[in-house]
């Protein structure tokens, strides 16, 4: 079982900071027009949320696992609801390597696997090094091509 690159925590905490800031902004605006408590409230909200989200990110990192098995890609994730997904190579439609701005900043990348399923249609493996993501993409691509495909659907 592989865990993600430790630096993914930075990406997630970065994302957490952005959403916490958004929340704080909304609270700040509402406060400005109604309660008039001042910046202390927004700042407090921001800090509280940031801490909560950061803890969530750390737990998330500890739970996240993936593995390339004989016939399938296996993923384990989720802090509150634990989700374990089995994606058979035969079902892979295509594989993307992707880098968001935050990921580029931290020198990370993700791989997205698409299937024709209607529920788990796309599965993302985050927290890879750029070469790691390319490798995973190439490897999955090869495995998917080798797998005896009947119908993709």
């Amino acid at each position: 079982m592989n865990s993600l690159h430790p630096r993914i925590r930075l990406v997630w905490i970065g994302q957490a900071a952005v959403s916490a800031a958004m929340f704080a902004l909304v609270v700040g605006v509402v406060d400005f027009f109604t309660l008039e408590i001042g910046l202390l409230l927004s700042g407090g909200v921001f800090l509280a949320l940031l801490v909560l989200f950061a803890i969530h990110s750390l737990l998330r990192y500890r739970v996240w696992r993936y593995e390339i098995r004989g016939d399938e890609l296996y993923l384990e994730r989720g802090v509150f609801t634990r989700v374990k997904t089995v994606v058979p190579f035969v079902r892979i439609q295509h594989v993307d390597a992707r880098r968001s701005p935050l990921e580029r900043l931290t020198g990370l990348a993700s791989t997205v696997v698409y299937t024709a399923g209607s529920r788990g249609a796309d599965v993302t493996v985050p927290g890879l090094t750029p070469t790691g993501a390319d490798d995973l993409q190439a490897r999955l691509k090869r495995l998917a091509t080798e797998a005896e495909g009947d119908d993709a659907v």
């Binding site: 989700v83 089995v86 035969v90 495909g149």
Partner: protein
Amino acid sequence: MTGTKLHPVSIPYRVVQGGIGVLPLVIFGAIFAAPVVGGLSFVLLPVVIALVIGALIAWQVAYYRRFEYELTPETFDIRSGVISRRNREIPYARIQNIDISRNVVQRALDVAEVRIETAGGSQTEATLRYVAYEEAKRLQNDLRRQKRDAEADVEEPGAEEPERTIYEITANDLVVLAVASFDLRLASAVFVLLSFAAPGVLVEVVAGLPVSPIVVVAAALVLVVIGSALLSGVGAVFNTYGFRLTQAGDELRYERGLIQRFDGTIPLDKVQTLAFRENLLKRLFGYSTLAIETAGYAPGRGDANVGSEAAVPIARRERAWGIGREIEAFPDVDLERPPKRARYRYVVRYLIGFAVLGGLLFAAEFLTGVETYWYAAAVGLPIAPLAGHFKWKARGYRAAEGYVLTRNGFWRQTTRVVPYYRVQNVIETQTLFQRRWRLASVAIDTAGTGSLIGGDSRAVDLDREAAERFRDTVAERLQESLIERARRKRLEREARARRRALRERPLWDPDAAALEGSRNGERGREAFDWVAESDLSPASTGRAGRSPDPGAEGAVSGDPQADEEATESVEDTGDDEASADHGEREVEDPDGER
């Protein structure tokens, strides 16, 4: 051009149709413009209307003249468009469904609308508005035959398969359906609407009556329930009146509708899931509904039965399940129930629900002083264990021979049957609460459409270890059944090649051809769209034995000359999307860099 035109009646019909849409706007515009243009508008209005009608007629005549369709040897071609022209070529092998619908007016004029659906497309690939009903039926037949010839590479192209009736709705069934299709959700929707519509007026009326408001509310409730029962019953009868399901070759066809008639097809080789829907009423009467989900598209979408089409709207349970077994030969097995502690979990959950309700009502009474009868929530004490028990009893799952079965729902019970080779991925989930009870759920994902509307194949609240085993079993069986299918297909292809070789080249040694076929077949077929064309070609030679000359095998997809060859190579890639490279308008990016 030797194409066929639409039915001439479609010109006046479409003009009237367009007029109904446009003329109110024109008249509206004229009324608003009246103050500006003054008295002139009385003169102008008829002129404008005449102009609009003239334009409509001219447009529809041009549309009619420009619209042509044609059945070519490999594709169904449609040339259309007044200003921007569009030529569309649909390979027969890609066609999934051919649906015909007729409303009252169209039935009187004896014309029909034909819709052609392809796999993977989210919208209708082609629509013919309107052709004669006879012509529509002929098209449905011809397209199906062409599709079969293109796909199956049959021995005698053009042979008509006999159509046999599988199911026909009786008056008795229709009555049962009308009663059983009663849905409490409709009643609650009506009720919510009522309470929003005129609360003030209602409250006044209720207060003015000489009886207790409780009685009035109860009476209203009963009325709403009766009303919505009537409504859903009438709707069901209108939708399914005269339902008939027939099978011709590898395709099911249905006809239904009292006022608007629908004729549709369900391709059997695209079936993803069978769903047996049995709500409480149906179970009490011993009836069942069979719905079929096909990939990427559910026929008859857009009307009341969203999601998947009912192949058997209502029938005795044994009958519906029997028809289901004819379509997919799944074994008759008992389902496994979730462990007993799942039942405790439901009981506890319901008790908590009732306690919260009682608490809220008590708080409301405490705060407002209005009598809320909060202690009535104690009724939950006997109800919760019962509800929990039935909820638990309704659930089931089983990884059976060839198929995986799941069942859920007490009020609206659905049993879903998925062949292993249709499984897309398997997802095991465990919420925080489930972890406390050592339970987990497993969802089985297919490419069917019903899943989008909340109808998933789910085994809920299994023992944690059982869930893990179930998940792995389904994934393993998927691999096994795929290998088995590939083997069977290869054998079929070899047998076909041998027969053809015997037929076409009596002097050539058929055993050598069979040998060649098996060797090539083992190389497998690449089903993925990033595979470059050059990589694909050698794999497509799985149809070996066709020609002893290896040079002739080079002619693969993309070659306009390749008639049977091309359609075969499409079949060999096994992917619906892969056939897009064969003269289709949307050519997929072969690198898959999307």
